[in-house]
C-alpha cells in the first residue's frame, strides 16, 4: 500500500513539473495549470487512502471550509487586487506548514532530534511567512501605512529576536517532551519576527516582498515535508521556493536595488533629499484635440502603462483607443516594464483582462531597440519606469535602473494629472524633453476624449 501511495506521489510530482513547464507559453499555460491541479488532486486522494488515517469527520470539515472560502475568493477577487490575494494565500500556506509541524509534535512529543529540528524549521519558516504575509497584505490594502517604519536599533532588535528563537529552539530540542512552553515561545517569536521583517519595507517594494514570501511558503512546505518524511512535499515545496527566488531576483534587478537594500533601508526615507534636484525648462502641454491629429498620422504607437492606468481603471478605454488606431492602420504595442503594476507580471494580467491580446504585450528588452522607429509613445500612469535620468544622470537615486526608452520615440505623450513626482519622488526629465507633450488630466477621461475624436472622424 505504501509503495502504491509513493508511486502516485511521483506521478503527482511529474504533473507539477510538466505543469510548470507548460507555463513557458501563454498558449499552453492554462492546460499546464490544469495538469498541476490534477497532480494535486491525485496526491490528496491517495493520501486519504493512507491507512494511518482513521477519522474522516475532521478532515471533511476542514476540506469543506477551505474549499468554500477558496472557491469564492478566487471567483470574486478583482484583478487589481491580485497582489493582496497572493499575499494572503502565501500566508495561509505558511500557517498550514506551521500547524502541521505543531500537530506532529502535539501527537508525539518524544521525537528524535532530527525530527525536532525539522519541526522547529517548519514552525519558524511557516510563522514568519504567515505574519509577514499578513503585514504585506495590510500594506497593499493600505490598512497599514505603506510608509517604511524604520527606527533606531531596528537591526539589533531583530537580531535579538532571532537569537531568542535560536536559544529557545535549543532549550526545546534538549528535552522536547517536557518543553511545551519553550515550543510556544518559538512559535510566538517567529510570528513577531515576521512582522518586524516586513515593517521597514515600503509599500512600493511590496512586489519584492510578495515574491520572497512566495519562496518562503514553498520552503515552509518543504520543511513540513521533512517533518513527516514525505517526498512530494519536499519536491513541490522546493519548486515553489526556487520560483520565488527567481522572481525576487527579477524584481530587484528591475528596480536596480540589491535585496539587502530593499529589506533594510526604507526607500522613501532615503531619497527625499535627492529628489529636490533641478527642474529643467518647461513642460509643453497639449490638448486632446491636437493629440488626436498626431495619433491619426501615426504608423506605430506604443503604450507604456503604469499602475496609475489600473488605478484609473483605464485599461478598457485604452484598448478601445488601440482598436481604433489599428483600424486607422497603425501598429499598436504595449511596453511592459517588469515592475509595472504591484506584483511581477501584474500589468499583463490587467491588460489581458481588458482583452488585449498577449502578443501585443512586449517586454522591455524587446521593445527598447525598436523605440526610435516609434511615432508616438503614450505614457499612461507610469513615471519612474520611463525616467531617462536612470540612464543619464549619475547623481539620480534611480541611476542604472533599466527603463523603457520612451524618450527615444519621435513623439512622447505623457498622460498625467499634474507635474507631481512618482513613487520614488524623483523629478522626471522626460517631461521637459523637446519631443514630449503633456496631456494633463485624468488619464481615463483624456483617453476617452481621444476615442470620441476618432469616432467623430469616422462618422
Amino acid at each position: 500500500m505504501n509503495i502504491a501511495i509513493n508511486i502516485i506521489y511521483i506521478v503527482a510530482a511529474m504533473l507539477f513539473i510538466f505543469g510548470l513547464k507548460m507555463l513557458s507559453s501563454p498558449r499552453t499555460a492554462r492546460t499546464g495549470n490544469l495538469l498541476s491541479a490534477l497532480g494535486m488532486l491525485l496526491a490528496v486522494v491517495v493520501t486519504l487512502f493512507d491507512k494511518g488515517i482513521l477519522t474522516y469527520q475532521w478532515i471533511i470539515t476542514g476540506l469543506a471550509v477551505g474549499t468554500v472560502i477558496g472557491f469564492f475568493s478566487a471567483r470574486l477577487v478583482a484583478m487589481t487586487a491580485m497582489p493582496e490575494m497572493v499575499a494572503l494565500f502565501n500566508g495561509f500556506g505558511g500557517i498550514a506548514s506551521l500547524l502541521v509541524g505543531w500537530a506532529v509534535y502535539q501527537m508525539m512529543p518524544q521525537l528524535p532530534l532530527l525530527q525536532i529540528i525539522t519541526i522547529v524549521l517548519s514552525v519558524f519558516i511557516g510563522g514568519v511567512t504567515f505574519t509577514g504575509s499578513m503585514m504585506a497584505f495590510g500594506k497593499l490594502r493600505e490598512i497599514i501605512s505603506g510608509k517604511p517604519l524604520v527606527f533606531k536599533g531596528q537591526r539589533i532588535v531583530n537580531g535579538l529576536i532571532l537569537a531568542g528563537i535560536i536559544v529557545f529552539s535549543i532549550l526545546f530540542g534538549l528535552n522536547p517532551a517536557t518543553s511545551y512552553t519553550y515550543f510556544l515561545i518559538v512559535v510566538a517569536l517567529s510570528f513577531v519576527f515576521g512582522v518586524m521583517f516586513v515593517v521597514p519595507i515600503g509599500g512600493a517594494d511590496m512586489p519584492v516582498v510578495i515574491s520572497m514570501l512566495n519562496s518562503f511558503s514553498g520552503l515552509a512546505a518543504a520543511a513540513a515535508g521533512f517533518v513527516i518524511n514525505n517526498n512530494i512535499l519536499i519536491v513541490a515545496g522546493s519548486l515553489v521556493g526556487a520560483s520565488g527566488v527567481i522572481l525576487t531576483n527579477i524584481m530587484c534587478k528591475a528596480m536596480n536595488r540589491s535585496l539587502p537594500n530593499v529589506l533594510f533601508s526604507g526607500f522613501g526615507a532615503v531619497t527625499e533629499k535627492a529628489a529636490a534636484g533641478t527642474t529643467q525648462g518647461e513642460a509643453k502641454a497639449l490638448s486632446p484635440a491636437d493629440a488626436f491629429l498626431i495619433l491619426e498620422a501615426a504608423q506605430s504607437v506604443v503604450v507604456v502603462p503604469g499602475y496609475g492606468l489600473a488605478v484609473a481603471q483605464a485599461q478598457h478605454v485604452v484598448k478601445e483607443l488601440a482598436d481604433l488606431l489599428e483600424k486607422n492602420g497603425a501598429e499598436v504595442r504595449y511596453a511592459i516594464h517588469p515592475v509595472a503594476g504591484r506584483m511581477p507580471g501584474h500589468m499583463n494580467v490587467l491588460l489581458a483582462e481588458a482583452n488585449v491580446p498577449y502578443d501585443q504585450l512586449i517586454e522591455m528588452d524587446s521593445i527598447n531597440p525598436t523605440m526610435p522607429t516609434v511615432d508616438v509613445a503614450m505614457v499612461i500612469g507610469a513615471n519612474d519606469v520611463v525616467n531617462p535620468a536612470a540612464r543619464e544622470q549619475e547623481s539620480s537615486p534611480i541611476y542604472g535602473m533599466p527603463i523603457i526608452n520612451a524618450d527615444e520615440a519621435k513623439t512622447v505623450f505623457v498622460l498625467k494629472r499634474s507635474m507631481a513626482t512618482g513613487f520614488a519622488g524623483i523629478q522626471n526629465p522626460l517631461f521637459f524633453k523637446e519631443n514630449t507633450r503633456m496631456l494633463f488630466g485624468d488619464a481615463k477621461s483624456t483617453v476617452q476624449q481621444l476615442v470620441s475624436e476618432f469616432k467623430d472622424m469616422e462618422n
Binding site: 498541476s36 477558496g70 521556493g241 499583463n348 501585443q360
Partner: protein, 96 residues
Amino acid sequence: MIIFLLLILMLSIFLGFELISKVPSTLHTPLMSGSNAISGITLVGALTAAGTDVNGWVAIALGVLAVAFATINVVGGYLVTDRMLGMFKKKEPAKK
C-alpha cells in the same frame, strides 16, 4: 533517510530554477498564484495529521485548521490562476 531527502531537495531546487527561468515575464503573476497553489501541497501533510486518531482537542484543532488553510491555498490558487490564464488570448483574426 535524511540524506536521501536532502538529495531530493537539492535536485528539486535545481529543477525549479531551470523550469521557472523559462517562464516569460508576461506570465509571472499566474506563475506566482499557480506556484502558490502548489505550495498548498502541505495539505497532504495536514491530512495525515488531522486523520490520525488522536488524543485531545488541541491536536484535532491544529489538524483541522491546517487542512482548512491548505485547502484555501490549493482551491483558491488553482482557480484564480485558471481564471487569469483564461484571459490571455491571442490576437483574433481581423473581424469582418
